[in-house]
Amino acid sequence: MSLNIIVLAKQVPDTRNVGKDAMKEDGTINRAALPAIFNPEDLNALEQALRLKETHPGTTVTMLTMGLPRAAEVIREAIYRGADGGIVLTDRALGGADTLATSYSLAQAVKKFGKVDLILGGRQAIDGDTAQVGPQIAEKLGIPQVTYAEEILGVENGRITVKRRLEHGVEKVVAPLPCVVTVNGSAAECRPRNAKRVMKYKRALSTSEAAKLDEAAAALYAAKPELNIAEWSAAFVEADPEQIGLAGSPTKVKAIENVVFTAKESRKLENNDAQIEELVKELIANHTIG
């Protein structure tokens, strides 16, 4: 049985490698100093999709991302690794969305695809760590969800078997298709880029990227529709303006504070034997250790 699979991916600032220049003097975030990367767990989800593509001939894996136009970069990356293509849902009206408005927008986009068997995504994105968008999309589409997936064990007769990795153990569950499955970072790592695919798709461009091509390149691009990464607007996915972006977000950021710790009076010690022995003796004497 061939499957129509959508993989949700997000381009995120690499919050794991925040350097000293990541914050501006005024305490706001210097986004320019943070590299934009493929959300790590979305890569784990992509790998699960590509495995199903191998075991279920005729399966298509289509990426869906919401973000700035430059998020086409993650679609390209996924295509290099084996995805068939992708869509960037991009629109200024979508900006400032919380998880609920985001999941509404993405669910609207999923509806545009027609028949979908499986929606995969990472458990959570590293810029928010909420893990909310997957289940919320499932609810909006009225389909089941399987979160914390570590491995898709199989798809048979319209049912998917999934191994979940939870705090205190493992669960195997069977869910009917279509459903949403969110994948943990403990799942298999995503395969690397395939050199042939990189050659073939290096000119895979979004519509707005292609608009910057010169005439000759534009003609070549136009002749190869498989290179097009489509951009969908909020209107195209028939999103209700009241339910997207800042307006559609029930949660509001009231305040953002730069973190200031209440400093303690620290005792500074040198890395020498005498001072460290002194510290150890003190900790033993006051029964902290020993």
């Binding site: 998880t99 499932a138 153990g169 500074k268 040198e270 890395n271």
Partner: protein, 342 residues
């Protein structure tokens, strides 16, 4: 049906007992409910719920909703979500708190999506306060402030849900303190008929195998924690931390950066998206101290920071700062502990 506009805590189970995280939320919920002048409610959904009230009433629960059906344990998403959605439409709670566990983080979003209420994940503090919308100037009183580190822990954000109810938040285990409100406190029990709240068609996901393994790592209750960060540099160097922890009778923890770098398993991660700890001694090795990490260990009694960088942020909350290479300092700690302890 009971009155409306109260604060409700979704209680989950751990080996047949109400999970610690739920009791911690009841403790916090009691304080918030008092501040709001409303009742503290709890909901328990499962197969056998006899005597559950004895576990939650001492935490100050005024109303306990019980929904029992053999199909409701183990947890699956849709049935539990269906119950909360229907019940919340009836009793319209103003606040709903859940553990930021595999269950709460699966259930919360599904419920919030259906009710179009806001949900904030992994809060590290909850308070009640007022809010003025900067655009419309509309004023709100007594909103739930959902406070959490954001953006990789570089900032702390206060989130509010001005217009939608319930205001939902998840909190990780160990973040709030668990405290008996009154041993003799008694509340009301309301048994709900499961069949009225959940449809047969909600039981779509079937659990075919379940294997519970208690975590081998128990950093939460360890009195001494030796934690390593990205600055430890390698998996091999983490062995030094294990040596020190074994010598002192403690456990090894880690920052997210060390876990992400593959130096150590996720189970040992301390911080907002890991475990919150309050040991009597916390030795931070090569940890710079992002707020997400500090949120999970700042209540340690004594903090020692070992770092090459004399200006590492964690040093500001440390009682002792040893500026130096952890590869040199840790063996010295081991050596002098062995020499001086009897």
């Amino acid at each position: 049906m009971a009155d409306k506009n109260n604060l409700i805590v979704y209680c989950e189970f751990d080996e047949g007992r109400i999970a610690d995280v739920s009791l911690e939320l009841l403790t916090k919920g009691r304080v918030l409910a008092n501040r709001l002048g409303v009742k503290l409610e709890a909901i328990a959904i499962g197969d056998k719920l006899d005597g559950v009230e004895d576990q939650v009433f001492p935490y100050g629960v005024d109303t306990l909703y019980k929904v029992a059906d053999e199909r409701l344990f183990p947890y699956t998403s849709n049935p539990h979500a269906a119950i909360l959605i229907k019940l919340f439409r009836e009793i319209e709670p103003q606040v709903c708190l859940m553990g930021a566990t595999c269950i709460g983080r699966d259930l919360g979003p599904r419920v919030s999506s259906c009710l179009h209420s806001g949900l904030t994940a992994d809060c590290t503090a909850l308070e009640i306060g007022d809010h003025k919308d900067p655009k419309t100037g509309k004023e709100y009183t007594d909103l739930l402030y959902q406070i959490r580190p954001a953006f990789g822990g570089n900032i702390v954000a206060t989130i509010v849900n001005p217009d939608c109810r319930p205001q939902m938040a998840t909190v990780r285990e160990g973040v709030m303190k668990k405290e008996i409100f009154d041993e003799n406190h008694k509340g009301e029990i309301i048994e709900l008929d499961a069949k009225k709240y959940v449809d047969d068609t909600d039981f779509v996901v079937e659990i075919i195998d379940r294997h519970i393994e208690k975590s081998k790592v128990n950093i939460k209750n360890s009195p001494i924690i030796v934690a390593g960060g990205y600055g430890v540099g390698s998996k091999e160097n983490f062995q030094l931390l294990f040596d020190l922890a074994n010598t002192l009778g403690g456990e090894v923890g880690a920052s997210r950066a060390a876990v992400d770098a593959g130096f150590i398993e996720h189970e040992r991660q301390i911080g907002q998206t890991g475990v919150t700890v309050r040991p009597k001694l916390y030795i931070a090795c090569g940890i710079s101290g992002q707020i997400q990490h500090i949120a999970g260990m700042q209540e340690s009694s004594i903090i020692i920071s070992i770092n090459n960088d004399p200006n590492a942020p964690i040093n500001t909350i440390a009682d002792y700062v040893i500026t130096g290479d952890m590869e040199e300092v840790v063996p010295k700690l081991i050596k002098y502990y062995k020499k001086n302890s009897k």
